[in-house]
């Protein structure tokens, strides 16, 4: 698949979450005070729904590095999941070309009872690689984790720092065409963070389209060229990352 041809287009996408549980009345009262979240509404069956995304239209081509910014509950994670094809929108269309890899949570598919090596194999299979491709990458992953013989024993014996190294290495060893990142999940010792950043940088460089949801404006400026500002499920502004970040900072400062 040609990396240059990667593309991700959203046309007029709206996503609603129906709320089924609990008393709708009290829930409504509670949610009305969450000013930053998605709008509340009612659907045709008079159920309470959260309008997580409203009429979102975006178009990204190869080479785009996009920062998603907005308050908690503005719809950043939902938008990433729509891009990843996890939530199929009721209205609007999502078209994409190129292999998409969502890195929403580092721990996807991690089985504590399996060895580090087996966890790497499972993650590779989840991402759609075949056994041969996985074995080819094995040396590279093992080397990055610096876990040595620990990779032969169950993951439950790992410290949290070791686990972070393993999951991070697994998540970043298979280069997709479209990479979706949620927040900056990092723990571990300082030396590891430095190393992780270098790896992530080269990972991002190899990827054709990157969409990153983050609160950290420094991170956004450093890695992204475009900015999309989400406000209560709608695109408030999009364009050059510095302009959008400045506008957003101005708004939040009041």
């Amino acid at each position: 698949m040609s990396v240059a041809g990667a593309e991700l287009v959203l046309e007029d996408v709206s996503v609603r979450f129906p709320i089924y549980s609990g008393s709708s009345q009290s829930l409504k009262k509670r949610l009305l005070f969450q000013g930053s979240g998605g709008r509340l509404g009612r659907d045709v069956h008079h159920r309470i729904v959260i309008e997580a995304l409203r009429n979102v239209s975006l178009s990204f081509q190869a080479g785009d590095r996009v920062a998603l910014i907005g308050a908690n509950g503005a719809g950043k994670s939902t938008l990433l999941r729509v891009m990843a094809g996890i939530y199929e929108p009721l209205l609007g269309t999502v078209t994409s070309r190129g292999r998409i890899s969502p890195m929403l949570e580092l721990g996807l598919g991690i089985d504590n009872e399996l060895s580090g090596y087996d966890n790497i194999r499972i993650r590779g299979l989840i991402l759609g690689l075949n056994t041969r491709e996985i074995e080819e990458k094995m040396g590279d992953i093992a080397e990055f984790t610096e876990l040595g013989d620990y990779l032969d024993i169950p993951v439950r014996t790992y410290s949290s720092g070791m686990l972070t190294r393993l999951t991070f290495a697994i998540s970043t060893c298979f280069t997709p065409e479209i990479l979706l990142l949620d927040e900056w999940i990092m723990a571990g010792d300082a030396a590891f963070i430095l190393k992780a950043q270098r790896r992530l940088e080269s990972f991002i460089e190899k990827t054709s389209i990157v969409v990153l949801a983050s609160h950290d404006s420094g991170v956004c400026r450093r890695w992204c060229t475009k900015g999309v500002w989400l406000e209560r499920g709608e695109v408030a502004a999009q364009g050059d990352v510095d302009r959008i970040l400045d506008a957003y900072a101005g708004k939040t400062r009041g």
Binding site: I86, E113, L125, I126
Partner: protein, 266 residues
């Protein structure tokens, strides 16, 4: 431009086909499901075999006595019946959790939903294979030889797997939305165990027409009869084919209609 219905149909078919193509994934995950339960135990998955073996032996002796039949005749019948019923009921009982238990996967990455169906069917087949050891032990102990007719159990088993997978798919989708369904199915399955001729021989029933009211009787028969050395009746096969057609239509309709909602519901 395709209509929304056509598009949903196409996506559902694509899901079923591309899910099957991910067999290295679901075969591995299905194995892990079983290993996870018995990890660090000495017998491992053979715990299932051991407990089932004890149950067959004890109930076989007791019920042969109760019904005044010979153990030689009753115990093999009971053994095969329980093995097959266990397979069928596990599809129904665990089907409700099919998607809710995979929430961490469904919310993190887009995989064909059918992957979870194949995974669960595969792990149930592995459990059945472990339990089959008891069947062979019974054959040896009582000196029974079913003959080549036993091979007819293979198409029967396939029919049960297909129907079980479809039923668990429907139950999984509906239970993701209505969380009471698994509890409801649980109590129904318990009743089905007693009304289906597993602990008692079908010949004992005064009104034989009652058997036809129970589709599970025919599903059990198409595997039980061959394993005991007899050919299932044509009536059994016709009924099962009819059930399968109904199941395909119903589960297909549910999957086409609600596939895109599963991620929202779990």
């Amino acid at each position: 431009m395709m209509s929304r219905q056509d598009q949903q149909l196409r996506l559902a078919l694509l899901d079923v086909v591309s899910g099957f193509a991910r067999w290295p994934l679901w075969i591995r995950l299905g194995w892990n499901d079983i290993l996870m339960r018995y990890r660090r135990s000495v017998l491992g998955p053979f715990w299932l075999t051991a407990s089932m073996g004890i149950m067959v032996a004890v109930l076989g002796l007791l019920y042969a006595n109760l019904f005044n039949t010979s153990v030689q005749e009753f115990l093999p019948f009971l053994c095969v019946g329980i093995l097959v019923w266990n397979l069928i009921s596990s599809f129904l009982v665990e089907g409700g959790m099919l998607f809710t238990s995979a929430e961490s996967f469904i919310k993190q990455i887009r995989l064909p939903f059918s992957v979870y169906v194949y995974q669960s069917a595969w792990s149930k087949l592995i459990i059945f294979a472990h339990n089959l050891v008891i069947y062979f032990a019974v054959l040896v102990y009582f000196g029974i030889w079913p003959g080549a007719v036993a091979l007819l159990a293979i198409p029967g088993l396939l029919l049960i797997l297909v129907n079980g997978a479809l039923a668990s798919l429907s139950l999984g989708v509906m239970s993701a939305r209505f969380r009471d369904i698994p509890q409801f199915v649980n109590s129904i399955v318990q009743i089905l165990f007693f009304v289906t001729p597993i602990m008692w021989k079908p010949e004992l029933l005064k009104d034989q027409r009652l058997l036809d009211l129970n589709p599970f009787y025919h599903l059990v028969e198409i595997v039980r009869q061959p394993l005991l050395g007899a050919v299932p009746s044509l009536r059994d096969y016709i009924t099962v084919v009819f059930i399968s057609a109904l199941n395909i239509a119903l589960s297909g309709a549910i999957f086409v209609r609600f596939r895109s909602r599963i991620a929202y519901w779990v």
